[in-house]
Amino acid sequence: MFSWFYYLSGRTHVSITLLWMNYSRFISKQSSRRKPSCISELRRALENGSPSLVWLASGMPSPEKFPFREMTVTLEGGKQLTLSKEALSTGLQYGPSQGYPLLRKQLKRMVEQWHSPPRWAESDLLVTVGNQDGVSKALDMLLDPEDFIVVPDPCYSDFLCMALYLVPNSCNPTGTNMSEERRQEIYAIAQQYDLIILEDDPYFFLQFNEKQLTSFLSMDVDGRVLRFDSFSKVISSGLRIGCVTGAPPLLQGITLHMQASCICPPMLSQVLIHELLTFWGDEGFKKHISDICQFYKDRRDAMIQALETHLNGICEWIVPEGGIFVWLKVLHLNDTSAMLLERAAKGDVVLVPGREFMVDSTKPCPYMRAAYSCATPEEMMKGMENLAKLIQKEIELQSTHK
């Protein structure tokens, strides 16, 4: 172990002890038994082979019989991108489980630029089939049955199910951002208890304030963070592309699981994103993010206006600083589930009951989650008007029953 003073740019001196993590203790029994396929081992031979090597090993289908010859996409603004023959061919064939090499290179550059991870030289990055699949495989890798996991409550509902999972920016469903001080404190606690931190950050690019908060990856002096990034909110959700960054011993288990399941992330999706990022360059990408942030900020503002117009005194909320959700507390109801699941559709407004996001979903919960990503300002105004009526009716219904 080594200690020295490490100057983090723009921040005060801190004392850091450089830790060599024992990763094997985090890996579940099942994951530790995963092995690379023989064929992927043989592929190394290709690297050392002569040009005369006759390769009869892999079961790749022949691309000659794939029926697609050319692909062009039109971007916003009318610019057309035509995939080269090689790029299309790559998009149509099996690829490495870790991801399309050219895209990985681009993403590594972006992660380095955005986060300057302190142990970047010892980190790696994999492309995943959407960031949720990355998180799912990371949890499979880390958790044996009945292991403990620390999660925020409320928590993104599809995950409830050694590790600390958190969504530091525009947390789904609360829309809140974790403050700088809390991030540092939580990292210190994770160090104290030797936890892996799963930093799930799909709204990283959807932050409305100029100042970027410190990611856990960027303070990760120990190599204990697995960071999950997503393009689902900014480029496409349907293409199913995300990425995970972290220490290679932790990524290995995810790669091997990927090899056994999807084989590789969708190649055509990866090629398209690579072409787009190449076309945009850094400036184009920053402009796109800036446009997206403005778009969602305008939506957020319209949502807050609708809330203030119709729900003052009926609900409470915190104004979200990013993302697409607002978390509402109904002041005079114990629980929102029955109202939303049984009566809301008839009332012409649907939100998600807060109970869905609680680790213990049997307890009553007065919260609900509204998404402002797709509704127009007019629809939001109408929706909140409907919601106010719905809540009033529910309060009356409850006092009738009493």
Partner: protein, 451 residues
């Protein structure tokens, strides 16, 4: 479990008893614990909703902000698929977990047409990110650590890599030039009496994995009578049959003479079938599909809901548009062209093998697909020969051990793929392989003598 009933009306002539399967017996605890995602379920409300409904329950990003607006794909036959802006939105936005609805509809029609599953009304079909992801989720749904699994041997390495971390108790079933031997299957299960295990939940085999056509790695296919026998045995022992069939469309011969799938004879509703487009349309786009009993397909769906969410939407849209453009006739015309290509490749491979390897190796002529399974009777184990010495002879194949359930045992086999190698290189490769084998025989003798 089996109740006497009037003769089954499904058209099958094999069995008359109507089986009511109890599917929970096959599920792991983790799989049983899976719950539907309320948020995904709530999107179903949209279907019945009035146009006035303001839907704020989904977490969909706004697709207006996605940078691709339209697209076009030109096919090799010169025709084009146009992705207009509305279709591009379908490509770029989150999709339902079971699959892009038009594609699901098309695949259901195709499956019904090709297989006429006898209990189709009790089955479901979902799109997966490649058939292997469907297979992986099906196995994860049913196998717990140390469980039994009945499988063909040699077995596809992808399946072994899913299973090995569970340290399962393999019940390997050997085969011959006609695939898995029903007698060997009976022998593998002979430790138990059918009536003892049919309803048991623990410490009994419950799952059978099989590649019925152009098996990877052996390249051979099961004839109809063997399929019926295997189905009967699976029925007696109450096994779920995992029919992994990625080479269905690259079987050689007239489509009308293809042997019946396990799905087509599934009177018990115990088959989960995995189909793939990887060999005929594209492997990189990651689109496959799984068909099976609703309660089991639902479990796979719930797993997908919390992991990859759905197969890539653009890939699904492309396949759907292509199938629409081609129609049934165009689709089968294409599959026949693919089949003809692989047949030509196989013939070139056989020529090369006969020229260089006939006194050194044995093999069964592949009846489909892309693999030749070679036995080297005079070599004890091909592993070291290939991993340590083959590179110097400029030829690489896969050693047979990689396909064995017990990888500690030696294997005299090796698998050669003939999908993407030219006839010239096949000739060169077989010649190099012959040299490699001859040198290995000498080495083996030398080592033997020096003991």
């Amino acid at each position: 479990m089996c109740q006497p009933a009037p003769a089954c009306t499904c058209g099958s002539t094999f069995f008359t008893a109507h089986v009511t399967m109890k599917y929970s017996r096959f599920l792991t605890q983790v799989s049983r614990n899976r719950q539907p995602s309320l948020i995904r379920e709530m999107t179903n409300l949209l279907v019945q909703a009035s146009p006035e409904l303001v839907f704020m329950a989904g977490g969909l990003p706004n697709a207006q902000m996605f940078p691709f607006q339209a697209g076009s794909i030109t096919l090799k036959d010169g025709r084009a698929l146009t992705i207009h802006p509305k279709l591009m939105m379908d490509c770029l936005q989150y999709s339902p977990t079971p699959g892009y609805p038009p594609l699901v509809k098309q695949l259901k029609t195709l499956t019904q047409q090709l297989h006429s599953p006898p209990r189709w009304a009790e089955m479901d079909l979902i799109v997966t990110a490649g058939s292997q992801d469907g297979l992986c989720k099906a196995l994860e749904m049913m196998i717990s650590p140390a469980d039994y699994i009945v499988t063909q041997e040699p077995c596809y390495t992808g399946t072994l890599s899913i299973l090995n971390p569970y340290k399962p108790q393999y019940l390997p079933v050997c085969g011959d030039q006609n695939g898995m031997c029903p007698e060997a299957l009976k022998a593998a299960l002979s430790k138990w009496k059918p009536e003892e295990v049919q309803d048991a939940e623990k410490d009994v085999p419950k799952v059978l994995y099989v590649n019925p056509n152009a098996c990877n790695p052996t390249g051979v296919s099961l004839p109809a009578d063997r399929r019926q026998e295997i189905y009967k045995i699976a029925s007696d022992y109450n096994l779920i049959i995992l029919e992994d069939d990625p080479y269905y469309f690259v079987q050689f011969g007239d489509r009308k003479n293809f042997p019946p799938s396990f799905l087509s004879m599934d009177v018990d509703c115990r088959v989960i079938r995995f189909d793939s487009f990887s060999k005929i349309l594209s492997s990189g786009i990651r689109v496959g599909y799984v068909t099976g009993p609703k309660p089991l397909v639902e479990r796979i769906l719930l797993h997908a809901q919390v992991s990859l969410l759905h197969a890539p939407a653009m890939s699904q849209v492309l396949v759907s548009e292509l199938l629409e453009l081609w129609g049934e006739e165009g689709f089968f015309k294409h599959t026949e062209a693919v089949q003809a290509f692989y047949l030509e490749q196989r013939n070139a491979m056989m020529e090369a093998a006969e020229k260089h390897l006939s006194d050194l190796c044995e093999w069964a002529v592949p009846t489909g697909g892309m693999f030749l399974w070679l036995k080297v009777p005079k070599i004890h184990d091909t592993w070291d020969m290939i991993l340590e010495r083959a590179l110097t002879k400029n030829v690489i194949l896969v050693p047979g051990k990689a396909f064995m359930c017990d990888s500690s045992k030696p294997s005299q086999y090796m698998r050669a793929a003939f999908s993407i190698v030219s006839p010239e290189n096949m000739d060169k490769g077989c010649r190099n392989l012959a040299e490699l084998i001859r040198e290995e025989m000498v080495l083996q003798k030398t080592v033997g003598n020096s003991d």
